[in-house]
Subunit: 409 residues, 2 copies
């Protein structure tokens, strides 16, 4: 008998028919003798519907007071899900009980719409498990020290599931999703993309931070911190698939580096179309210039990703960095009004049609020549800076160059 | 400066456009210097949508475990409403904060889907009011001693509003609804129905218990127990109607009987199409026979309304009573299988096409002849037992006979 956490995404919970299938799958695991905790997301489309209503009432939703109300509203999507799943499980003849974030409680800080989990009290859940109940806990949400409802931000249900698994010292946390595991890259772009049976925690973290949408990055960080055994697998297999087969499917995230992994130099290719590039041209190359440019950007709460400072020429340099596309207009405005006059830069340029392609693999540590092989592959295709329209071509070229379509030797 | 509670029904909260109007109306009252607490219902249709999802998953939802989950689900409708209204108020430039039942907290017993309020802690609300915030509280729900979410049953938001008003010792509780007050009878049936400017608490209680849908009966009981000044008025007047005019509109529920009220012998006519009649025929007329028939019915949790025992004839009598139509089939089954054999009754008959028409008025106490006038009016129209199809005719005939279309002298 093991203690198992299942997490189901919004697509898996998208209709009563699908919720019934989730219940049957969970019941199968419970009947096999496991103690089960389930963390479902809101029914697909529900969170957007709720936030859409809020936006109709106020175009600006940025103050803490407004964000508190957003969390009050958005958290109901998961509350409906857990209640429905508990009913579906009882209709299957199982005992079950659902809890919201505040009922467990899942304690967070007070950063509304992007709160961080600080502590999970597992007493109530353990008592129910001991009585033979399946316990269903809302993802995505918690309660702050003042008793306000908080949410963890988009994809937060992954984090909730892993955090619950860590708090309960679960034997495994299974993330059921609409893909059947972690791939070398997005199979919709590279037909030869291959599913990985295992991926190291560090590689998964890289993949997530570089734009892979399979797992939310904070859930991977959480899993790493507490070394939670975590598996990504499909919720679209028939619910009555043999449990032994299901338990070995998908992609397992591992914490020990074994020999096999050492052999794979590059495990995956991640990409990201959400960024925009900003360049400050002809800026005097003095110590502290990077801070003069990036300080005001950071103060405006704009996250900077890649930073490139060109070689200086006659005491002047070009300084480029990337930001999220949603922050592009605000960044350009900020640079124009404050940074340009203060630094004496010659000009400003920007590009929203860029993308970022990254290769991922812990094997790169001990292998030279990965970067040169990457640029060689791109130059063979005539790709220089990766304009958005060449992104898919670039990903396919790299996938082939690193022989990622072949299983590891 | 007064402390005022506003309650808005589901129709008033039915769209973001309407929520914006509610916010403007509340803001008008707050800007006039009042401390404002608002209790809104779920957006119209939302509670039915949520319960519909639950029913798709389980045809039977009667166990306490399932009803607990129903409350988990249904309570989200009001949670969304309070968050949206708080946002709308902030968009109007007001400070506001929303609370769920468990956050206030509104403490109830553990009767899921029909819980009763036991205690309301007003500390948190008072602190916010003192800071100049409009406080918005979910109707319909509370928290039980074990930290489970409970709901108060259909129309429970009226009860929540009155209970909050009682706990806060509010100066007035305004129930905004889709009718503009309490009428002598339903204006959709009698065109001459007249709005009452005041109605006594006892009459309102009668009207509610006899089928008038304007206010939920438990909210009226609560108002009476704590003598909460309560007014029913329209939410469909323009939001910017002068506050002095609005404050005097609708129908005020009063607790003192003044002379004017004494003059109105009959204040209203209530009716109800939800009942069915059951008759046990030719039952031996012995002491305890009523208990032998009604005991098993009560044990099966079936509410009995009107009871009629006919004059005994040769030691036998006919015993009739009414139950809710939803309980009709179950009642007939129960009588057939247990009561008939035990009492030796000759036969059983039933009628689901009946209705109940009642006349209401505290003035009846000191006036004789009301019942005879009622039956005279009905017999003039040739109405004997009120078959459902004659109900509207009966209500119109009584409304005219008691001159209820004329303002009180």
């Amino acid at each position: 008998m093991a203690l198992i956490v299942h997490k189901y995404g919004g697509t898996s919970m998208g209709s009563t028919e699908r919720i019934r299938n989730v219940a049957k799958r969970v019941a199968k695991w419970a009947r096999a003798g496991h103690q089960m905790v389930v963390v479902p997301s809101a029914m697909s489309g529900e969170t957007n519907r709720l936030l859409g209503l809020a936006k109709e009432l106020s175009p600006d939703l940025t103050t803490p007071e407004l964000q508190r109300e957003l969390d009050m509203i958005a958290s109901t999507g998961e509350q409906v899900s857990v209640g429905l799943l508990a009913i579906a499980l009882q209709a299957e003849g199982m005992r079950s009980v659902s809890y919201t974030g505040w009922q467990v409680p899942i304690e967070t800080d007070s950063s509304f719409t992007k709160a961080r989990i600080q502590r999970i009290d597992d007493q109530r859940v353990r008592a129910d498990l001991a009585e033979g109940k399946v316990v269903i806990i809302t993802g995505f949400q918690g309660i702050d020290p003042d008793g306000h409802i908080t949410t963890l931000g988009r994809g937060g249900s992954d984090t909730s599931a892993v955090a619950v698994a860590a708090a309960m010292k679960a034997d495994e946390c299974l993330i059921f999703t609409d893909v059947d595991g972690v791939y070398t890259t997005d199979p919709r772009i590279v037909a030869e993309a291959r599913r990985l049976h295992t991926i190291s925690f560090e590689e998964m973290l890289e993949m997530a931070s570089l734009g892979s949408k399979v797992l939310q990055i904070r859930s991977v960080e959480f899993a790493g911190k507490y070394r939670v055994p975590m598996r990504v697998l499909s919720s679209f297999t028939p619910w009555d698939i043999a449990i032994d087969e299901e338990a070995k499917s998908g992609t397992l995230i591992t914490y020990e580096e074994d020999e096999k992994m050492e052999q794979a130099v590059v495990s995956g290719i991640a990409f990201n179309r959400d960024e925009a590039k900003v360049s400050v041209l002809g800026v005097p190359d003095k110590p502290g210039i990077a801070y003069q440019i990036l300080g005001p950007v950071a103060e405006a709460n704009i996250d900077v990703d890649v930073i490139i400072q060109n070689v200086s020429h006659e005491g002047k340099t070009d300084f480029s960095f990337t930001v999220h596309r949603n922050d592009y207009a605000r960044t350009m405005e900020l640079l124009k009004s404050t940074v340009i006059p203060k630094t004496g830069a010659a000009a400003l340029s920007g590009d929203t049609k860029i993308c970022k392609v990254s290769i991922v693999g812990i094997g790169m540590r001990s292998h030279v020549g990965v970067a040169s092989k990457m640029f060689a592959a791109l130059s063979e295709e005539g790709i220089n800076v990766i304009d958005e329209k060449y992104m898919e071509l670039a990903v396919r070229a790299l996938h082939k160059a690193f022989e990622m379509d072949l299983p590891p030797a």
